[in-house]
Amino acid sequence: MTALSVFINGVGLLGPGIADWAQGQEQLAGRAPGQWLKTVLAAPAHLPPAERRRAGAVIRVSQAVGFEAVAAAGIAPQGLVSVFTSSGGDGVNCHEICSQLASDDRLISPTRFHNSVHNAASGYWGIATGAMAASTALCAFDGSFAAGLVEAITQTVTQAVVQAEPVLLVAFDTDYPEPLRTCRPVPDTFGLALVLSPVRTAHSLGQITLHPASYLSPGPADVLVDAVLEAQRQRIPAARGLPLLAALVRQQAGMVRLDYLDDARLELEFTPC
């Protein structure tokens, strides 16, 4: 069986105390301490004004990290295949709908309803970029990042047979308000995006390889040195991808293990560029 290798050509990052990939790199390299500050979400600049004003956390975080990764890779978003993955949809939106359905007035807002679909980030990405290529929206609960990474790698490798195009992966989570927060205690919004390329370019930061015989590993997931980042990794599903970014920062060859399923971690081989 052939090993599946792709290059990471761009990163987008946003989370508690992390404004962007540049700041994340400083924290992952140990040059600056991680700080748990509330995630700052900007209005998505690429959407039409009406959508921009109403955009919830899902749309804000997914567009912020998506556009950051695409810009870092030096490519245009229009032609990209995209993979969105999240452990849940917009927490506030879901709470509002469930609250209203439990009340005497069940006339929920049509905008709330169409924003409740798990693929809302994917839909708004298309509206913002005009990208008409394939786009999906996945969930594997706490393993959603790894599930998305596997999908994005297989997309990149199988698509490369036809044309060597990059693929965008966007992983994100938003938090629920109470009472759902007690049942699903994700503390804040977090986003991590990667541009994967089947070929090495001037923008390539590292190479990752999946080995079909050993990509599901019984071993433990990698942990982070910084206590704040490690707490984020443990408490926010999309942050389970941080050890891969730590490998990018370290630029040392080796294996990276990420949380995936209850009975298996996802194991990747990292090769520096």
Binding site: M132, S135, A137, L210
Partner: protein, 398 residues
């Protein structure tokens, strides 16, 4: 793409548990739609309810997963010897080499709706027995099926609204092509809940009558529930008689609007063309199209234009089976792929149900009567909110 074998499949919907009643209903153009009597919903609409879901009892060690969606999943897995077929495949290739990729739009969100109706009067807390990960979360159904079948391979839920369980075929195809798995359990499960009933009502998309796809007077959807499962494997050298193959896939995005399709059906057209290309086929090779055909004015109009653009006007027999089952949302792609497999095996072109007067502006060969003839290649469309489109091409071996 390399053709894949649908080695086993099953479907449960408003037209029955398993394949036999479904085939019978499609042949006789019988509908499973009934006036809405679901839970506390008070809506002038029709639904496609599956009988017996409430009677399903989950095993003791999986009680946390108990919700309507997982009960339906279990009921559907039991039909047509599907569970046993999964065991046989797992024994042959190893449980680590079987992936589980299931589509759902709302999973067990009904549990959350009910929990919100029973919040603690003082604290506002949800009831103590509410299990978010195993019910509400989109992954819950994939997790439940994976555990039920004792599989240990890769798993995920695809949740792209009404294209969800068509797109699982594409993810599985890529995983198989990449050598990460040797078989995939794909499909979709969605169940009735207040979010979708009241949500589509808020958009003015629920019909007050049983839905009438492609009818001049069509007035919206009828929501249904359903579960479909398919085992996908690489096609062996020697194929069994009646073998059904997945020949092609196409996926695209409208990049247009969250809840209305591209008015000319551009994304739908791209998905169909890509599916034909990946199957190495021309439009003339397709004998039947199972339309997405939800019966909303704008959806059917866009799909009609897309079908005309790809296939020409009135060239290819087509119909929507949603008049029989209702729109099963995240389960629709899988359900209709299974109906296409039945059509291929039994030489059946299912006539549309409830449609009386075809919309003359939609220049397609829409079947009002079931037809019997040998079929070799069929195409199935599934489109969803957010402008997500997926087309599958299925065919017989010869």
């Amino acid at each position: 793409m390399q053709p894949l074998l649908l080695s086993h499949f099953t479907a449960t919907s408003a037209i029955g548990h398993g394949l036999a009643p479904a085939l019978d209903a499609l042949r006789a153009q019988r509908s499973g739609l009934t006036p809405c009597d679901f839970g506390s919903a008070v809506l002038d609409t029709w639904i496609g309810r599956v009988s017996g879901v409430d009677d399903e009892v989950l095993p003791a060690d999986l009680q946390a997963f108990d919700c309507r969606n997982n009960r339906l999943a279990q009921l559907a897995l039991r039909q047509d010897g599907f569970g046993a077929a999964v065991q046989a495949v797992a024994a042959r290739v190893g449980p680590r080499r079987v992936g589980v990729f299931l589509g759902t739009s709302t999973a067990g969100i009904l549990q959350t709706e009910l929990a919100y109706q029973h919040r603690d009067a003082t604290t506002g807390a949800l009831p103590a027995d509410f299990c978010y990960p195993q019910t509400h979360n989109p992954y819950s159904v994939a997790d439940f099926v994976r555990r039920s079948c004792a599989l240990t391979g890769p798993a995920m839920a695809v949740s792209t609204a009404c294209s969800s369980s068509a797109k699982v075929f594409a993810s599985a195809q890529r995983m198989l092509a990449a050598g990460l798995i040797d078989a995939a359990l794909v499909g979709g499960v969605d169940t009735l809940c207040l979010t979708t009933l009241y949500g589509f009502n808020s958009l003015g998309l629920l019909s007050g009558r049983p839905c009438r796809p492609f009818d001049a007077a069509r007035s919206g959807i009828s929501i249904g529930e359903g579960a479909a499962f398919v085992l996908l494997e690489r096609a062996p050298e020697v194929l069994p008689a009646h073998a059904v193959l997945l020949l092609g896939l196409g996926e695209s995005s409208d990049a247009h609007h969250m809840s209305s399709p591209h008015p000319e059906g551009l994304g739908a057209r791209m998905a169909m063309q890509q599916a034909l290309r990946s199957a190495g086929l021309e439009p003339g090779d397709i004998d039947y199209i199972n339309l997405h055909g939800t019966a909303t004015p704008s959806n059917d109009a866009a799909e009609g234009l897309a079908v005309q653009a790809v296939f020409g006007a009135r060239t290819t027999p087509c119909s929507s089976t949603k008049g029989a089952t209702g729109h099963t949302l995240g389960a629709a792609g899988g359900l209709e792929a299974v109906f296409c497999a039945l059509a291929l095996q039994h030489g059946l072109l299912p006539g549309g149900v409830h449609t009386e007067v075809l919309d003359a502006r939609l220049d397609v060969d829409y079947l009002l009567q079931t037809r019997t003839q040998r079929l070799r290649r069929v195409l199935s469309n599934s489109f969803g909110f957010g402008g997500t489109n997926c087309s599958l091409v299925l065919g017989t071996a010869q």
